[in-house]
């Protein structure tokens, strides 16, 4: 399935090199040694790149963290106002203003990512089960290109349709005047909202998850599914209790991969999630879903012009550092969970 098939392969083979097909040892000729050195240097350059990225970004972001301490993550009032303050800080390095409480941005990031991944996991699992078991043959064949296509659509097009079609629809027809009234003094509801952001992000990350889960369901040994059916269990039950259960590590891996993608989504979210650093308030009831916000990645894109202006740039790099550490932490968590789930199963994930 194109890129999605490659991603599924990555998930299966993460961290392990298969032993079988590697070249047998050969006496080293000078050409061999040169080739090995050059290619090895290229490979090591990847590690250098990552190390450099981590070091450079954190180094650049450090002043912002050290100035605020842990309150960097707290809520200190209007985060947009704070950012304007930082932007307008005097040119003298000793008098740089760093004070920021980025909680609304962090909260928005994890809220949108979390909701989208939860929705996408359920949606993708059901779609994958449909594709593997219940879809008639002709429909099964049609669905694979559909998934590939959805995965290939650039995020800016999702954002465009979002902001030109869905946001006005929500703003004019779904959000009622009472809702707008109820939060009038705090925030303006114009359609750019948590709901639209979550919805479109779910659609964006579903294809990746579906590809991985379908691969995993198809890789479940036929003996298990045959055995379950032969016991007189109906197709849904057999699929759910045996195949889906065996595919749990892959579902987790898909969720982690999708989370990393959702975390880093900047362009689409900057178009539809709202342009204010507001923390949506769950106590508002249903209005909660229609409140705007702005996750970290979108904040960086929106304020990209200020990257060369210190200390504003350093604050933006601090946002990026949080994203970097989160994405890395997600990968590690996924790897760890998959190891734990591998106890009972024989499947290669």
């Amino acid at each position: 399935m194109g890129a999605t098939h490659l991603i599924a392969d990555r998930v299966r083979g993460l961290g392990r090199l298969p032993r079988g097909n590697r070249s047998p040892r050969q006496p080293q000729t000078p050409a061999d040694r040169r080739a090995e050195l050059v290619l090895g240097a290229l490979a090591a350059a990847v590690l250098l790149l990552i190390a450099g990225m981590v070091v450079f970004v954190i180094q650049k972001a450090w002043p912002s963290f050290s100035d605020n301490g842990l309150t960097w993550f707290g809520a200190k009032g209007e985060v947009d106002a704070q950012m304007t303050e930082i932007f307008n800080s005097p040119a003298d390095p000793d008098n740089y203003v760093y004070s920021i409480g980025a909680w609304p941005l962090v909260y928005s990031t994890f809220l949108i990512t979390g909701l989208a991944v939860i929705c996408a996991t359920g949606f993708s699992l059901l779609t994958a089960m449909f594709m593997v078991e219940f879809a008639p043959g002709w429909l099964q064949r049609r669905l694979e290109p559909v998934i590939r296509l959805l995965a290939a659509v650039p995020s800016v097009i999702y954002g465009l349709i979002g902001i030109l079609v869905i946001v006005p629809f929500i703003g004019n027809h779904i959000v009622s005047d009472e809702m707008k009234e109820s939060v009038r003094f705090v925030i303006q509801l114009d359609g750019t909202s948590l709901m639209v952001a979550t919805l479109i992000l779910t659609v964006m990350i579903t294809p990746i998850m579906v590809a991985i889960i379908v691969d995993a369901l198809r890789a479940v040994p036929k003996g298990w599914s045959d055995g379950a059916l032969a016991l007189g269990v109906n197709r849904w039950r057999a699929l759910w209790t045996v195949s889906v259960r065996a595919a749990r590590p892959a579902i987790v891996a898909a969720g982690v991969l999708a989370s990393a993608r959702a975390l880093g989504e900047a362009i689409m979210l900057s178009m539809v999630s709202g342009s204010v650093g507001f923390a949506p308030n769950p106590l508002d009831g249903l209005t909660f879903f229609f409140e705007p916000s702005r996750p970290l990645a979108a904040t960086i894109v929106d304020n990209a012009d200020g990257l060369s202006v210190q200390p504003f740039g350093e604050t933006l790099y601090a946002f990026a550092a949080v994203l970097l550490v989160s994405a890395g932490g997600l990968s590690f968590a996924g790897w760890f969970i998959r190891r734990r789930l591998r106890r009972f199963s024989l499947s290669p994930t």
Binding site: P221, D226, G227, L229, A230, L231, R237, V242, S345
Partner: protein
């Protein structure tokens, strides 16, 4: 003088050209169908399943050609024949597992206790007709969960652990595995040895109390000792469930079979009591197979 030209080609001319062979139609390309020798079931056997003129084809290829056999309670029916003769296909059609294959087409009837199996709910059929596969396939769960699986995943409310424990114990006892695993029921099933796993699969099938048990070459992946244990288990179980066993091992068929059906390339060649099929086979092909002339 050196003659560098190649020697002239000699042509062999026959006086009588042999007649071209015209294969008879609709018999998979092999010779005319030998007579089917069919012995009716013994008077006192209760018939559990029956096939009537069952034919199964994969696309264009006919795998089973108009086979009619009976499966009776209290006895073991052994299906023997060389590879590709259709015995596994026939076995898989008895619990309609063959329907999972996309290109398959079936004609003829399969009857379970007199009811046409095609009109029964397939899950109902499979609860009455259990199956054990060639490769032991315990689920990646604990031993207890494996046996309890068929009992839990039914239509109605899931029975609690208290209700399941006696039934799991009983199934394990019937399969002869109880003594070996009773202290470790929550251990992973995949850590058992091959023979134990196969007995676990048998216990799993027995837990739902089937009338008929289908065994698809159950010992082919096992060592001789495990094989002997399972054969002895089969002999014990046959009074409780009707058993159909597919095997390519003639000695095994002789050891466990009460009735034997010999199939060749999709046709049922001979069907009768084991003593008769092995001792005094009536069809020539049976004689050749049983004596090892081909296989």
């Amino acid at each position: 003088m050196d003659d560098l030209t190649p020697p002239p080609v000699r042509r062999i001319i026959l006086d009588n050209m042999p007649e071209p062979v015209v294969p008879p139609a609709a018999t998979n390309g092999h010779g005319p169908v030998p007579e089917v020798v069919h012995e009716p079931a013994a008077r006192n056997a209760v018939e559990r399943m029956r096939t009537e003129d069952l034919s199964i084809a994969y696309g264009q290829k006919l795998a089973v050609n108009r086979v009619s056999i009976e499966v009776c309670a209290g006895e073991v029916l052994a299906l023997i024949g060389p590879s590709g003769c259709g015995k596994t296909t026939l076995l898989r059609s008895l619990n309609r597992l063959i329907d999972q294959t996309p290109t398959v087409a079936r004609s003829g009837r399969i009857l379970l206790d007199g009811d046409d199996a095609d009109f029964l709910d397939v899950t109902l059929l499979r609860r009455k007709v259990g199956m054990v596969f060639q490769q032991p396939n315990p689920f990646p769960m604990s031993i207890f969960d494996n046996i309890a699986y068929g009992l839990r995943e039914r239509g109605s409310k899931r029975p609690g652990r208290k209700e399941l424990e006696p039934r799991v114990a009983e199934a394990l006892q019937r399969a002869g595995l109880w003594e070996e695993v009773k202290d470790n029921l929550s251990g992973p099933a995949l850590r058992l040895s091959g023979g134990q796993q196969q007995r676990l699969c048998i216990a799993r099938s027995l837990a739902v109390n089937p009338e008929v048990l289908l065994l698809d070459e159950p010992c082919s992946a096992l060592d001789p000792i495990s094989t002997a244990v399972i054969e002895e288990l089969i002999l014990r179980l046959r009074t409780q469930v009707a058993i159909v066993i597919v095997t390519h091992n003639l000695q095994q068929a002789q050891r466990v079979g009460d009735r034997v059906a010999f199939m060749y390339l999709g046709d049922l060649v001979e069907y009768g009591a084991a003593a008769q099929v092995f001792g005094a086979p009536q069809a020539m092909r049976t004689r050749e197979y049983v004596s090892g002339a081909f296989g």
